[in-house]
C-alpha cells in the first residue's frame, strides 16, 4: 500500500531530520513506528501523508509513484490517506461545529450530500451524540475532539490511515475507544495503518509489527517487535 524508499527530509536549511529511511506498509497491515521525541518519526509520517515534500527518496502509494506533495498531489492519492494528529486543538478549525468538522473532507471533495449518512454514522460510532455535534472545539474536551478528528479521517474511506501520536494526550479509556474504532474500520475496509508513537506497550498491542527508531533519526537496526 505504502512504500517509502530512501527518504531524506528536513526543514529549511537545517540538517535532515530523517536520513535515507525506507519503510513499507502492505495492504491491510498495521505497522507501528516507535521512537523518542525528536527522532523524526512524525516527519516521516508527514512525508507518507503527502503533507511534506522530502529532499530525496520516493513515495509509492498503491503501486503508483507519488509525483507531488500537499496540493500538488493528485486528489485520488490525497483522499486515499486519512491522517489523525496528536493535538486535536491544532488540527480542528475552531470555527466549525463538530458536525461540520467531521463532514469537512466531504465538502472539500464536493461529496457532501452523498456522504451525509456516513458522516452521521461515523459520529455515532465515535460516541458523539447530537448535542456534542452542535458544539465547537472550545466547548468539548480533548478526547471528544479527537474522536471527531478520527471520524473526519475515516469519512472518505481511506485505504491507509496514518495516526501520529493520536492518543498521546488522552486517558486510557479514550485511547482504547479510539483504537477500537480504528480497528473496526480496518476490519470492515481492509485498510492499512501506520501508527506513530512512543508508547511501546500500546503499539505492541495495536499493530501487527512495530519498528523502532533510535534518537538519531535512524532505524535502530532491524528491531521488530511482533505481537504475540
Amino acid at each position: 500500500m505504502l512504500e517509502l524508499t530512501g527518504i531524506t527530509a528536513g526543514y529549511d536549511r537545517g540538517r535532515p531530520v530523517v536520513r535515507d529511511m525506507s519503510l513499507a506498509v502492505a495492504d491491510g497491515e498495521a505497522l507501528g513506528l516507535l521512537g523518542p521525541s525528536g527522532c523524526g518519526k512524525s516527519t516521516l509520517a508527514r512525508v507518507a501523508a503527502l503533507l511534506h515534500t522530502p529532499w530525496a527518496g520516493s513515495v509509492r502509494l498503491a503501486g503508483e509513484t507519488v509525483t507531488g506533495h500537499r496540493f500538488r498531489a493528485p486528489r485520488h492519492q490525497r483522499t486515499a490517506i486519512g491522517v489523525v494528529f496528536q493535538q486535536p486543538r491544532l488540527a480542528a478549525d475552531p470555527r466549525l461545529r463538530l458536525r461540520d468538522l467531521i463532514a469537512e473532507p466531504a465538502r472539500a471533495t464536493g461529496r457532501g450530500r452523498e456522504l451525509a449518512d456516513r458522516a452521521a454514522a461515523l459520529a455515532d460510532a465515535a460516541g458523539l451524540g447530537a448535542e456534542l455535534l452542535r458544539r465547537r472545539p472550545h466547548e468539548v474536551s480533548d478526547g471528544q475532539l479527537q474522536r471527531a478528528c478520527l471520524a473526519r479521517a475515516l469519512l472518505l474511506r481511506p485505504r491507509l490511515l496514518i495516526c501520529d501520536e493520536m492518543t498521546a494526550m488522552l486517558d486510557a479509556s479514550t485511547t482504547a475507544a479510539l483504537v477500537a474504532l480504528v480497528e473496526d474500520y480496518r476490519k470492515e475496509q481492509g485498510a492499512a495503518l501506520l501508527a506513530v508513537g512512543h508508547d511501546r506497550v500500546l503499539l505492541g498491542r495495536w499493530c501487527d509489527s512495530v519498528r523502532e527508531w533510535d534518537g538519531d533519526g535512524n532505524p535502530a537496526g532491524a528491531e521488530l517487535l511482533t505481537q504475540e
Binding site: 521512537g35 523518542p36 521525541s37 525528536g38 496528536q86 460516541g127 451524540g129 448535542e131 456534542l132 474536551s141 480533548d142 478526547g143 471528544q144 501520536e165 498521546a168 494526550m169 488522552l170 486517558d171 486510557a172 479509556s173 479514550t174 485511547t175 482504547a176 475507544a177 483504537v179 477500537a180 512512543h198 508508547d199 511501546r200 506497550v201 500500546l202 505492541g204 498491542r205 495495536w206
Partner: protein
C-alpha cells in the same frame, strides 16, 4: 501528624450564560501529608485541573467555590490558611511559590517565549528569596541544579528546549521558594517513555525529601510508579481513594469506573469503558457513572457517599470489582 494540606468539601461551580452552571468539582475531600504523593487520576474533563486552579486561586472570575482547603500553621504563619477564602493578595505574597509550588501542564507553553531560562529563574529567585542582583548568578545556578537542569542550557529560550528540559526548567521554578507542597498538573503528558521515567523519578525524589506532592494525571502508568495513594475522579467527584499498591496491584480498584479505567490500559484488557462521561452542566441526580456501568441498578439513583474510600454501593468488598 498534621497534614500539609487538608481539603474538605471542596466544590467549584462555573456560572455560564443563560443561567447554566457547570459543576466542575463537587464535594472533594482529602489530606496530603509531608513526604507523601497523592495522584489524582481520571478522564480528561473530570475536573482535575480545576481543582489545582482552586487551590492556587487561579480560577476565572465566573467560578464559585465552597468548602475549605487549609494549610496548617508554620514558622511564618501562626494561624491556618484557608486557600479558598484568604484572598488574592495573601495568595500572591505568601502562598504561590512559597508554600505551594506548581509544575504546570505544557511547561514549554507556560514559560515566557522571549526570555531565557536564566531570566525566568533570576526573576523568580529575586521575587521569592529577595536575593540581591550581584548574588543572583550562583543562586540561579543552584536553583537549576536542584531540578537537574543543565547549566549550559540556562541561556536557551523555551522553544530551544526539548520537552524534558522544559519540564525540568518548570520544576526548577516551582522549587525556588522551597515550598513544602508541590502540585504537578499532567507532568508527563506528551513526553516519551524515557522522559516520563525521568520526570517521575525527579518528582518522586522531591516527595522523598519530605515535600507533599499532588500529581494530577491521566497517565495511570506514571501514577502507578510515583504515588503512595490514588484518588480517582469522575464527573467532578472523587469516587475512590486508595493506597496505590492495593489499587494497582492486589486487590485492585473497587469502584467500577476505576476498574474500567485500569482495564482500558493496553497492558491489561485494552477495552474502553462504554459511552462518554456526562456533561458537567447536566449531571444525573444519582451516581454519575451509572449510565455507563454494567452493574447499575435501582439503588444507583441515589448518589453514593465516599464511604470507606469508595463511592459505590456495589463495591463494599475489594473482591466486588473483580466480579
Amino acid at each position: 501528624m498534621t497534614p500539609l494540606l487538608s481539603v474538605r468539601g471542596l466544590s467549584v461551580r462555573f456560572r455560564m450564560p443563560h443561567g447554566r452552571h457547570v459543576a466542575a468539582v463537587s464535594d472533594v475531600s482529602f489530606d496530603l501529608a509531608a513526604g507523601e504523593c497523592l495522584a489524582l487520576v481520571g478522564e480528561s474533563g473530570c475536573g482535575k485541573s480545576v481543582l489545582t486552579g482552586a487551590l492556587l486561586g487561579l480560577l476565572p472570575a465566573n467560578a464559585q467555590t465552597r468548602g475549605s482547603a487549609v494549610l496548617p500553621p508554620d514558622d511564618q504563619h501562626a494561624a491556618p490558611v484557608d486557600l479558598l477564602t484568604v484572598g488574592e493578595r495573601a495568595l500572591a505574597r505568601t502562598v504561590r511559590g512559597r508554600r505551594i509550588g506548581l509544575v504546570p501542564q505544557s511547561p514549554a507553553a507556560h514559560l515566557t517565549p522571549v526570555r531565557t531560562v536564566r531570566a525566568h529563574l533570576g526573576e523568580t529567585v529575586r521575587a521569592l528569596t529577595g536575593t540581591r542582583r550581584d548574588a543572583l548568578p550562583p543562586a540561579v545556578a543552584a536553583a537549576a541544579e536542584r531540578a537537574a537542569f543543565p547549566a549550559d542550557h540556562l541561556g536557551h529560550h523555551p522553544h530551544q528546549l526539548s520537552g524534558g528540559l522544559a519540564q525540568r526548567a518548570a520544576t526548577a521554578l516551582a522549587l525556588v521558594g522551597d515550598a513544602p507542597l508541590l502540585l504537578a498538573d499532567e507532568p508527563t503528558t506528551g513526553l516519551d517513555r524515557d522522559l516520563v521515567d525521568r520526570t517521575v523519578a525527579g518528582l518522586r525524589r522531591h516527595a522523598d525529601e519530605g515535600r507533599g506532592l499532588l500529581v494530577i494525571t491521566h497517565d495511570l502508568a506514571a501514577a502507578a510508579r510515583i504515588a503512595d495513594r490514588v484518588a480517582v475522579m469522575y464527573a467532578g467527584r472523587i469516587v475512590e481513594l486508595a493506597d496505590a499498591a492495593a489499587f494497582f496491584g492486589t486487590p485492585g480498584p473497587r469502584h467500577p469506573y476505576a476498574a474500567g479505567l485500569l482495564a482500558a490500559l493496553p497492558e491489561r484488557d485494552f477495552t474502553p469503558i462504554p459511552g462518554l462521561p456526562p456533561e458537567l452542566d447536566a449531571l444525573p441526580g444519582g451516581c454519575a457513572f451509572a449510565p455507563r456501568c454494567a452493574r447499575a441498578d435501582a439503588a444507583c439513583a441515589a448518589r453514593p457517599p465516599l464511604d470507606g474510600g469508595v463511592a459505590c454501593h456495589h463495591a463494599t468488598a475489594p473482591e466486588a470489582a473483580d466480579a
